[in-house]
Amino acid sequence: MNPETLRQPIIEFLNASYRLPGGQVLLKNLNLTATSGETLVLLGRSGAGKTTALKLINRLLDPTNGEVRVDGRSTVDWDPIELRRHIGYVIQETGLFPHYTVEQNVAVVPRLESWPAERTRTRVAELLALVGLDPGGFARRYPHELSGGQRQRVGVARALAADPPILLMDEPFGALDPLTRSEVHREFQSLEQRLKKTIVIVTHDIGEALLLGNRIALLKSGELAGIYSPKEFLRSGEPSASEYVARIRALESFEESK
């Protein structure tokens, strides 16, 4: 891939705002672009508008002002069903269908797209292997028979099933314990490099943002407070960044003192 196509804007927020019918503004005049192949992290506390921004991309919400473009076309001009099948969507583990096996969960979009059964089966096995689950052992299990980390991997596999060029992830690793979390993070990093998809991740975890993002968009009460590379973010003097750095330093000095 040459640098030209790398910079192609895939998702663009143009003065996008979202206001609840009651008048409360969840997102105010957001201008932000995610380019082809990058991982953009939307970082912020709860209520900062990150999930709202994410839902504007796959048209779970329509902007009340401004617009959001996907592949150069305003989301309101897309057929919502077509748009969503073009975009993988991962939410916290609860998003798996409890009445479907792992295999059926991963096969949801291929089946909606009426793929032939054989192609679906091959694809499911391929994806389970990709996210580090043995297809033989897991395909026929139900979500409640899996650990949190395993469910998370199934969620990622399901979102990737029809090979969408865009992947949206809403606090995807939020429900995992710290150890599983860092394990899944490492795996996801290597997945990121192999997949070359445009990824938008919502998180309130600075460590996660630094680890997974190429760029970090910091949101504060519905407004964009800054866009940084992970390195810039650490040096930004942003209070939450300084706090994080201080925490890491404290941890390091604790390690050294042992």
Partner: protein
């Protein structure tokens, strides 16, 4: 003549009445499901319809059953055939639990699951048939079970308008002050209710989604 001998001697008639009873209840339940489940779904889609629909079903439920049969008697077409009338009355009784449980089951589906379904590009119809209904099936069935047991009891009143069923024995027994006749209707009706309850609860448990 003791009760056992009575049951043996009148076995054919009791069986006949039981079959009539099953026909009345079965037909009413099929109708009630065919009407109640879509109404229950509608209530979740158009919340403002919730009050009028559930309210009407509630009122039908509170009318004393004997009176309801009586009210329907002069209605044209309905009053022409007594079993037709009985089935319609029983259907009205069975509606409320079915509507209520269908809407409760669908509203009870985890919003995160519904959102995941939407986010993956399922159409509203696909979400309903592939996600919401399968996940609320056991709740819907619990409503069907309650309605069936209720209807089996109320169906004994159908004999009052000449629709047959096990109520025949009960009404005849009351008129003749004959306990055996009353029991010939009441015992099979109770057994019918118990076995319907048991069978449907087995199915319901099988359909309950794992957590």
């Amino acid at each position: 003549m003791n009760l056992a001998q009575f049951f043996v001697r009148h076995g054919d008639e009791i069986l006949q009445a039981t079959l009539e009873h099953i026909w009345l209840v079965g037909a009413a339940m099929l109708l009630a499901i065919a009407i109640g489940v879509p109404l229950g779904i509608l209530v979740t889609r158009r919340p403002w319809l919730s009050k009028p629909i559930l309210g009407t079903a509630n009122i039908a439920e509170t009318i004393p059953s004997l009176a309801l049969f009586g009210f329907l008697l002069p209605v044209p077409w309905l009053g022409d055939r007594s079993d037709r009338l009985a089935i319609v009355a029983l259907t009205l009784y069975a509606l409320l639990p079915i509507i209520r449980n269908t809407s409760a089951g669908i509203s009870g589906v985890d919003p995160a699951i519904r959102e995941a379904a939407r986010g993956m590009g399922m159409t509203p119809r696909q979400i309903l048939f592939r996600v919401e209904l399968p996940l609320s099936l056991s709740t819907v069935l619990a409503g069907v079970r309650v309605a069936t047991v209720l209807t089996i009891g109320v169906a004994t009143i159908a004999a009052a308008v000449g629709a047959g069923g096990l109520g025949e024995f009960i009404f005849r027994g009351l008129a003749m002050v004959n306990d055996q006749l009353i029991l010939a209707g009441a015992i099979p009706a109770a057994l019918l209710a118990l076995s319907a309850d048991f069978l449907l609860s087995v199915v319901e448990r099988r359909l309950r989604p794992a957590r």
